[in-house]
Symmetry: D2
Subunit: 408 residues, 4 copies
């Protein structure tokens, strides 16, 4: 026997294509729909509002579909009250738990709406007195109160005002054929706006930053205050340090452009050197490490979180070898982030996209289109992609952001 629920969605439904995606979702989850009512924005600047009756074959399927629709900003017309269940195992949610989006979310309990503190996708919602917050599965503890089903929950999708948007480049697609100079300027503006608003700029970087010779540009941007937090792996930091200690990075002699195919032992020696010092900071303070990106971050008291991976050598003493601990350390740095730039890393970009609220502007730069596509596919719908050469892009960005870069 089928069950139904009325849902509603508001926004630029017509021109954003959101309605088409909502109806797609319903079908792909095996449901059906009737549009009960639609108020079309007549003029380009109006918002629209639609009420849709969705049908699913049983309550379980319906709950899942409703949770799914919330990732599009579609809420139940009559949201009702949140249902709670107690976790009875550490690290496991109760059955039927509400699986979160990264959109702004509110939960109604006993007639009152609570804002979810830290929107993050693929988590559960934990209610603790007056607080409601997202929690990853691995952090669940016995006795926590967890939201079940989609009742009592309301999400708000960011309203993508398309044409007037100052940050509206690359709206619908990922392309390597775009006027790149304009994109550089737009990223620079995004960073300046974040800083002007008192927010932090988060960078997520891969070793390509060093290999493409962009470390000096990035150092200039650290010095100029445009890098508040860096998320990376063992590789970026090691290659940066190797480059400072030996002038090479995994076999590339950076001043000459000659390729040293495998310079592994430089790499492994750089790791050993920093491990001997105890930490990157210690190596800076002892005078062993005197240049590069990591040095600049330490000097300017900026934050960095390095999280390891299974292919790591060493690793550096600062690297979180436990990836779940690493995720926690990354989450702890997200407060007040107002702009995020991801450069040349698929692994850490996807990891950051997983924990970043959808409200934070996000630009992903990579020569590999797959990185950008993957990010959007995983649900970071706010991601803007730029397929370009990382080295030249960061060089241009430094010229935009740092007045005396390349003049000194």
């Amino acid at each position: 026997m089928s069950v139904t629920e009325n849902v509603e969605v508001t926004g630029h439904l017509m021109d954003s294509g959101i309605l088409s995606r909502v109806l797609d979702d319903i079908r792909q989850y095996g449901g059906d729909w009737v549009i009960k009512h639609i108020d079309v924005g007549h003029e380009a600047s109006d918002t629209s509002r639609a009420t849709i009756t969705v049908t699913a074959e049983d309550d379980d399927a319906l709950q899942r579909l409703l949770m799914r629709l919330q990732t599009r900003g579609v809420n139940q017309t009559d949201p009702g009250e949140a249902t709670l269940a107690e976790a009875d195992m550490d690290g496991v949610f109760p059955d039927g738990f509400y699986s979160t989006t990264n959109l702004a979310t509110r939960v109604r309990i006993a007639g009152r709406w609570y804002d979810v503190e830290n929107p993050e996708m693929d988590c559960g919602l934990v209610v603790d007195g007056e607080r409601v917050y997202t929690l990853p599965m691995s952090d669940v503890r016995v006795g926590m109160q967890v939201v079940i089903g989609a009742s009592g929950i309301r999400v708000t999708a960011p309203d993508v005002e398309k044409s007037g948007d100052s940050f509206g480049f690359m709206e619908s697609d990922v392309s390597s054929e775009k006027p790149q100079a304009v994109l550089v300027r737009q990223v620079a503006d995004g960073m300046r706006d974040a800083k002007a608003a008192g927010k932090k700029v988060l960078w997520v970087g891969g070793p390509g930053v060093v290999h493409t010779g962009a470390a000096p540009a990035m150092v200039a941007m650290v010095n100029a205050g445009f890098v508040d937090v860096l998320f990376a792996g063992n590789a970026l930091a090691t290659h940066d340090i190797e480059s400072s200690l030996y002038g090479t990075s995994l076999g590339v002699d950076l001043s000459m452009g000659h390729g040293v195919e495998h310079g592994h032992e430089h790499h492994i020696r750089a790791l050993n050197t920093i491990r001997k010092e105890g930490s990157i900071r210690a190596a800076v303070e002892s005078g062993v490490l005197t240049g590069g990106i990591m040095h600049a971050l330490v000097k300017h008291e900026k934050r960095f979180v390095l999280v390891g991976s299974v292919r790591d050598d060493g690793p550096l003493p600062d690297v979180h070898t436990d990836v779940i601990e690493g995720q926690r350390a990354m989450r702890a740095e997200l407060t007040d982030v107002g702009f995020c730039l991801m450069v040349a890393t698929m692994l850490h970009s996807v990891a950051t996209g997983n924990i970043l609220p959808a409200s934070i502007p996000l630009v992903c730069v990579d020569i590999n289109p797959a990185t950008v596509t993957k990010l959007a596919d995983r649900g970071s719908s706010q991601a803007k992609g730029i397929v370009t050469d990382v080295g030249l892009f960061l060089e241009q960005l430094a010229i935009e952001l740092v007045p005396d870069y390349r003049r000194a």
Copy 2:
């Protein structure tokens, strides 16, 4: 003041191009060379032998260069004796430690040659009584005896007999334009040869195995005994399990080919379900998990090592969240591996390439040429690359290996 050393190299120097790479290395490490003597193999099947005097600006540079040349199978003419130093910090090698290759290696101590037990690249060499073994940096403990410099060490590069090699496909390059049916047969032969020799077949896989619909083919090969060990991450196992539980894999309805763009909540629910059971094996035993790759591995008592990454949701209870622990678990499974197939994963392929002796045949299959190139660049010189569609490749491989596949 410059210092010199005589080195020698034996093999198919002319036709393998090895000599050219050796001389390149010398220059790129800032050294110089004189060819003292060369015995050319006159006929195609003869081996050649060259003696070269290499010069470097100081002893430090010379030691590094000598270590570098050993990755090519070049040894000192007069190897001398190994020098040892004691580690005085946990997790840190003594200065000037010998950085290993993944080639067969011997060490001379007190006039006697010892075989290194487990060749692995980017490690140190630890001497413990009669044993000499490679050790990764993070496992060094105070008091261990570690080899310093390149004296007393002799490596043997596998002799690549080019044309007559039964496994000689894809010699010099990575290409998507190759007669694929031949390549499929060659991989099948490699696996059969390993099994016939009483060796294990190691698979390294990414989630693409499931997304491309190749799970049934892989299950057939597990059942037929061609998968002894699987190295993977959280993603392959989760998508495989999600597919068994819900018939979807990250949004792909596998029987219809319709794309479900983001099916995240299926994914997250599959994780929660297995976490509740306690382990993949427990889920098989309790009847919760009844199909798919992981199920087949458990049923046939095959081994798997899952190592986590920073982008993981969940993860599954079987996943090593500490990547250094994960590497140790992978190393422990390498004994008796006689063939390695890597499919659709850059991260775990590079990780496995790092720890695999060069003597084990290694084939890497990916639709992305960069994965294959990266692997070879990192030093897995024995790697053969096949750029093709993973789903169709595994389908063909199952047809080759499993007589009644697709007939049942």
Copy 3:
């Protein structure tokens, strides 16, 4: 002073996302809009109808915008009458000519609607007595009557019934991560349907068909009647013939999988041999050419059009060296084509997409995602893309289509 026009559009507006694209177009052409009326399909199977008032700054801009909107299937509410102008130069349209879409199109002249004979994009519309047909720019002759502006024209977009569509795979995106076996079957079904309906199957192929070892599979499909017409360049035919004459194809020894890096002189000799015979058919008849794809096409009296490019050696005597003549020869073969498969060629796929009516199902198979994306970007909106290995794909397709393939 701004000018306005009422337009209307009918179809699955909500779930196809078409409305959002229409409104995007209006903005990007500098216009504005008011939705006057919208009839939403309440149930999933209903069609919707919208009436929109569009505004542009002057009549020129308005005409362009209206022509643009017709590529989306949007027509003027009051279509009026077509305006004609006479061409006064060979090879040049009159100013303001109507630029065609590849959709089914009708033109109203003197109160009567005429069907356009051969929808093709980026052409003009020529009226000749009772006939209205598309004509490429280079074929215009002085005195022809050409339609000016968008009045009196009505286009019909194919109604993409999404979920129920038997040919609905890969709806919105291009991906290498799809269950490939399903896709193979769907292509096979598309071909069988076309043949069952008495239509022709058109193949467009690049040399990768031969390099990947798929020539035997394609020969089997020619023999079985699933290749009625082939569009290709000099390269596919030459490599196929080279392979028959010498057993190599640009350096790949097909039976062994060994790469012959450059086998140019085989290539150039194959060209010389066929040129000496006078044509491919003559070489078949004289017994010089006894196998391969081109041989099979000749034997079965199938059609092929080879069009040259600037990188060609030779070329074969059958190759059209004048590309405009080549386009004409391709157009002449489109009659009764009911299915089109494009394999491993960007150049000829885009060329064919340019002249193919949108009503003909079109599947593009390439290991390079860019080919598929490019095709869709150029306006072949009906194109379905499959990113996979061409060799394995054709092998599977032959197994599907030819019962005794691989059994003989």
Copy 4:
């Protein structure tokens, strides 16, 4: 019965890897070898010399193998005399014709050595009195004297002095991870050197030059005298002109970075406009075309050759629609070219590589690694590849080459 011949090769045999490739060739052509003698350069700067006896199964196979080896700079020890045969059909070489390389070549006739005027690969050698020149197959005419077999021919491979080479970047591989700023400078130096030597700089470009917003940079370089000849297709010129006339290029609004998905009718109107004027030069002179790359070339009396392809709309009146005529027009512009830069086009890059002597430095820039790889695979062994973003690369190159670029 097998036949043998002695061949010799001189150069940096050891460190260039050339010997290994020569021996590979022998095997891949089914031959065998004995190294009779080898003089190794003892020091890094010495050249080596090897004499090799090659064996093949019959004279035909031997002649082919000898021709093949000449592409590596390997000549017969006793070159003998060239054998000539008369062409007896237009457009067809006599059987057994010598197939050329793009290396410097000499031919011995009646005891005297003649320099081949215009080395080009995959051609025949025509002897006409005192002249010997390469001729493409399609230009052969009855009665011409054509060289048969490999006797009497001597080729000289450019001596690749590896480490000391000022233009030695990217020696052995194609990579996107290189310090890009160094590469930009090296290309700039290559152009300056050519100009200083009184030579011409040849550009080969695709439409990506315009799409990535690099047209202003290229215009600056035309104005500054660093573009003497441009080879391109219809697309680059049309998009450049479209951009000047309408401010768009295939749907990209260049000043804003907003994507206009398909702006086809702008494109088709730009074509019509220039066709009406009769030629690009006429459009410049009449004041219709006032900016962009083509305008700059006309203004500065620079040369351009546009050759059509089967996917062209229009085309522009300046486009050679016959590709063989187009090739002839390209060949006619090669005199005095001293440097060649290929940007963002696979088709025209391969076409140019086919006709360019190996002695001309050649750099290929593309975001797609396949373009660069293809070029080298086709025999343009001198090609250096840079995988990067074309827009940012040309921007940087203009900054390097044009002192007041971006200051005005």
